[in-house]
């Protein structure tokens, strides 16, 4: 009986005996916990996120400073989804980048660059001031580029496609000083045009003749010289909603083979971001003008003419919907903060192409609504719905900003 009584109350006795003071009561709780300690462990999800955070896992996969990486997208507008391998070394003496990518639509690009001195950082803001030289080379094969004809009156019904293949090599000596970068691109371009492979529409050479489409039948190699100057105060690291980017360039394409397609081209691209309501809203404005002037007796080949239409210009129209020797584009976006990661946008695009800027009369236009997801105003995902263009409503999904 004694044993039973004692046994039955042993636990209570031990606890009770430990609780004659507050300190003892608390100690008893701690001793009870000490008998059942469990090592702290991250769950699988937390462990993965920790690797992403601390080991910069995504960056090490897609954009490491040194080593092999995966490349996703960025092949060209209209290329569709694609990707491929890459290698890069971002260092002090030099930056070297090389990658190749192919898309589901059969697009292919291989490119490489070497920059002296190196930037060592992806953060433009930390790049050193001073001179630099960059060598860039590219080979691309774009088999389904859309073409609707030249000029502002081209018809949507005339949609065709052509294949564009080119090799491009350039050397760029330049200098950076604060917001200002100036330099000159010295290049060699060797393009070729062929029949398009998109069977949903005719090939360009099936419905257009070379008299309508300069450069359709013959493509020379070009010497390219392009002085440029860029002034950029817009910096997401400092203020993601204020500042400007202004770029002015003059490009001379010199026909090295046929003496038919030499021309000069001016490009002015002005972007201004005006914040208001304590930087929660932004008025984003862009004006782009491009004008090509062929040499005496020459013409500007269609594949080097400026284009409008698509996710970055006239969003109410298909990619490359309009092309001519000159183009004018005006874009305005009212962007507002929805939360830390999402931004809304109401936009209006207007623009047109023409032989000369002075010939541009009636402007095409569209307007719409968009949502952008990203961090600090940089869109990693963009959904735009464009109305108002005369060719119907268009939904656009992209993984970068419009401008």
């Amino acid at each position: 009986m004694l044993l039973l009584i004692i046994a039955a109350t042993a636990d209570t006795a031990s606890i009770a005996a430990a609780q004659t003071t507050r300190a003892e009561a608390d100690r008893a709780k701690r001793e009870a916990k000490a008998s059942q300690l469990i090592p702290e462990r991250r769950s699988k999800i937390e462990a993965l996120l920790f690797k992403i955070d601390e080991d910069l896992l995504l960056r090490s996969i897609f954009n490491p400073p040194r080593g092999i990486h995966a490349r996703v997208g960025g092949i060209g507008e209209g290329a569709g989804f694609g990707g491929g391998p890459g290698y890069q070394f971002i260092g002090v003496p030099f930056d070297f980048r090389a990658s190749a990518a192919a898309s589901l639509k059969g697009y292919f690009i291989a490119q490489g660059s070497l920059r002296f001195p190196g930037t060592q950082s992806e953060d433009f803001y930390t790049w050193a001031n001073g001179p630099y030289v960059e060598v860039y080379a590219r080979r691309r094969d774009f088999p389904q580029e859309d073409f609707y004809g030249i000029g502002p009156d081209s018809s949507e019904d005339a949609r065709s496609n052509f294949a564009l293949r080119d090799t491009f090599v350039r050397v760029t000596p330049a200098v950076r000083r604060g917001y200002l970068t100036a330099g000159v691109n010295l290049g060699y371009l060797d393009p070729s045009v062929g029949s398009g492979t998109d069977t949903r529409m005719p090939s360009t050479d099936e419905i257009f003749g070379p008299e309508e489409v300069p450069g359709l039948n013959a493509q020379p190699a070009y010497g390219v010289i392009e002085p440029f100057v860029e002034f950029a105060t817009f910096d997401r690291a400092i203020n993601d909603r204020a500042g400007g980017r202004y770029r002015l360039s003059f490009t001379r394409h010199e026909d090295r083979d046929l003496d038919q397609f030499s021309f000069s081209r001016w490009d002015v691209d002005l972007r201004q971001f005006i914040p208001f309501v304590h930087d929660t809203h932004t008025l984003a404005l862009r004006a782009w003008a491009s004008s090509s002037d062929p040499s005496e007796g020459d013409t500007v080949p269609f594949y080097l003419q400026p284009t409008l239409g698509g996710a970055y210009s006239l969003r109410g129209f298909r990619t490359f919907r309009f092309r001519d020797r000159s183009a004018l584009l005006l874009q305005a976006e009212y962007r507002w903060r929805i939360n830390e990661f999402v931004e809304g946008a109401l936009f209006y695009d207007t623009g047109a192409v023409g032989p000369e800027l002075g010939d541009i009369g009636k402007l095409e236009r569209d307007y719409g609504f968009g949502l952008r997801a990203g961090v600090r105003g940089a869109a990693g995902f963009r959904l735009d719905m464009a109305f108002g263009g005369r060719e119907g409503t268009r939904f656009l999904v992209r993984f970068d900003d419009v401008f």
Partner: protein, 559 residues
Amino acid sequence: MSSDRLRAAAAAVAAAVIATGIGVALAAQSARLSLRFFPDDPILRDDDAALDASGIKERELSETYDFLLNTFGSPADRAPIRASNVNTLDEVPDSTWFTNRIGIRDLPVAEIVRGPNKFERLEAQDWIVVRGKSPGGFQAGFRAEHPGDPGQVYQLEVDPVDHPQLATGAELIGTLIYHALGYFVEDVYLVRVDPARITIADKATIRDASGERRFNQRDLEAVLRQAARDREGRVYMSATRFHEGLPAGNFEYHGTRTDDPNDIHPHEHRRELRANRVFCAWLAHDDSRAINTLTLLVAANGRKHVRHYMYDFGAILGSATRFAEPATSNHETYLDKNASLAALASFGFAVPRYLRVARADGPPSAGAFDSTSFDPVRWKPNYPNPAFSNLRPDDAFWGARLVSRFSDAAIRAIVDQVKFDDPAAAEHISRVLIERRDAIARVWLNDVNPIVDPKLAADGTLTFTNAALAARAATPGRGYTVSWARFDNASGDAAAALETQEVTEPRAAAPASLLSSADFVVATIRAHHADHPSWDQPVLVYFRRTGSGWQTVGIVRLP
């Protein structure tokens, strides 16, 4: 009866007696178990270093996981219970989390501005970089040593070019205030460094997305290019000196560490963590998340225990470390549902109220720190913090009392430690801190019955203080109602009120008949003010008879 039988009967009787004795003893222990107040109440120190915790392993949190968990999950107990680590006086005892400082005594200004620092001043001209900052770090900087403190690693961080002394000033001010409040914080010094006197150790490394590599001159230049400088070309830097101990990772604002035997109070129910919401609101510390905490495994008395630190104050007071804080910070969480829906549905034309008020942000060194848009109750961290979400009026009252104990002079002295080159910045930050302090006092000192420090003298005179009046957060009210009763500590029951008194001053006299016969008495005190209905909530104050008079052993402000 044979002798055997006699022996058996005697044994049975003895057993019964022993059993009865044990039963009686256990019954007595059980009675003690139900005591409302233990003999050592109120405890002033929670001995949460009592057991050896040397078995714990470092566990750093994932920033993203912490965000997702607290934004979309419910990791904490949300029961609206009283903070579990307060003592019977409703105060936070000292522990490995908190040391009462300004809350229990008048801290000399000199002590406040010294903070946790080992040195009064850090005389360091030469710095040797030993390591780059970890990849996750947002503010530019590196880790370095200086010859005057051999073997000690400091974390040096810079100010943004256009905002000199913004982040470094915030770091120091936050450190000094949090230390005075009672938290553990690392040493922080402000230094101005001639870039020419920074060198790089041969073995210095930095980690990036491709792994470890040597820290080189270009890395140093990249940091310096992002750094504000004074007129003499020196770089403003904060130098954080890490305390001795083995890093054990971050602590979370919910649950307990499963590998720490001393950690028995769920963090979401710790008062100093709940009330940290008050301090964060005061200082615009929206970055107050688990990722900005530290724990160190420290040795004492032959065993090891975890010490809990608040860390990284560079993003307070309108600083976002690399730029001024966006206007939405401290007003909306990252994924604020209501604000998002309103913004989406209105195409951004429904501008929140806090953006419509005229804000008086300070000069560049002061950042986006204002008092005009400040509403202590509506203040929000970057994402939900479960301890903050559990804040009750009694927690907030405790926090507001601490905030209100920072005098104007103390606040100005703290801000002056930054030695702002722009005097307007010092003036702005001081003024806004004072105005926000007063706003906090007005709200949270009046949200409960604000009587504090009750004492019962041997002659039966009861005195107490009205904290709201003391902080000038309220005008005098109509007076107080005090009811007296006997209290049974064993059962936890109070007898019917023996006497009720109406007084206009915080003073009353206990009934002599009660004091002569009771070991415990309880006074129920209500305050009355037409503008503050919360004052009417009864505060129960328990007194225990001692050899020389009466000891205050319990205060219940909110059950």
